[in-house]
Symmetry: C2
Subunit: 192 residues, 2 copies
Amino acid sequence: MKALINKIKSNQDLSLEAEAYLYAISEKKTFSKGTVLIKQGQTTVNKVFFVLDGCLRSYCIDKNGKEHTLQFGIKDWWISDYIAIHNNESATLAIECLKASTVIVFNAKKLNNIFTQFPEYEPFLRNLLERHVVSLHQRILNQLQLTASERYDLFLKQYPDIEQFTRNYHIASYLGVTQESLSRIRVEKIKK
Amino acid sequence: MKALINKIKSNQDLSLEAEAYLYAISEKKTFSKGTVLIKQGQTTVNKVFFVLDGCLRSYCIDKNGKEHTLQFGIKDWWISDYIAIHNNESATLAIECLKASTVIVFNAKKLNNIFTQFPEYEPFLRNLLERHVVSLHQRILNQLQLTASERYDLFLKQYPDIEQFTRNYHIASYLGVTQESLSRIRVEKIKK
């Protein structure tokens, strides 16, 4: 948690009370590989995760049983099912640990209430949300205009070590390609 | 502008000074159909648009000359090239008016500075950004898991009147399908 607080403090002041509140609404936990933190379809989602170490994945399973990966959560990333939290509906996504992971677990409601009591957190979140919006815009544009091979290159730049603990279908389902296409792209890269 | 201020006021208090500042950093303008508000590649992007009436489109042209639509901006939507603004780089996107449009033009820097002077705007923006993140997550998941025909159905629900003033390639390039595929989907729908 100290790491997260230092991160916030690097950009702005934070009172001791505001700092204490962050501790009060959170809990540091370590989960083993394969642990499911949110199950798709569960009736309420009330947790938000900040990754200290490890790798999480958010994904959904469609009506044909096929998985689609929305996000990988590595060190210093936030991850949850924000669709479910924002719309107050059952989980659209599942979240699992791709390797043993240490996270700070926040209660989503209490995290949201933080701004009423401590508006000093607003600039931190604004910056985080703005950066996230920009990266999502970029991802949508990349999906529309780049080839699968170009998207794979970008993916490896963004997540340089991720191939050690992800399976072929994790990455394929993030890029929106079949596993066969991804294998072909990888073979082509080795040849070069 | 009154409409935007009332929108903000429906959720929170706003001082007269904060209201006056919003007027001071903005200008209401009407543009004719076809007007380009941001040109892809222009060195700086310093404008953000709030749509009062009409329809704008943000898109990029790839290295092969093909257009890809990121967003349509209709009544009450914000639109700009946030990638360029956030990264302080030249315009990744172009923004054009698909019909005569009335917008409030904000200076991006002054709009960003509003939070220092008037932190009371923070909750409004946070809510806006959160909703936008959720809609982008949903769009990425839809792109990964739905057929082109299902995505077209959702698009028409989200933008019920948009076909009156958009061309076939505007919608095809938003959905990530060829114009031929979109035409086929439309024919299929008429047959049903």
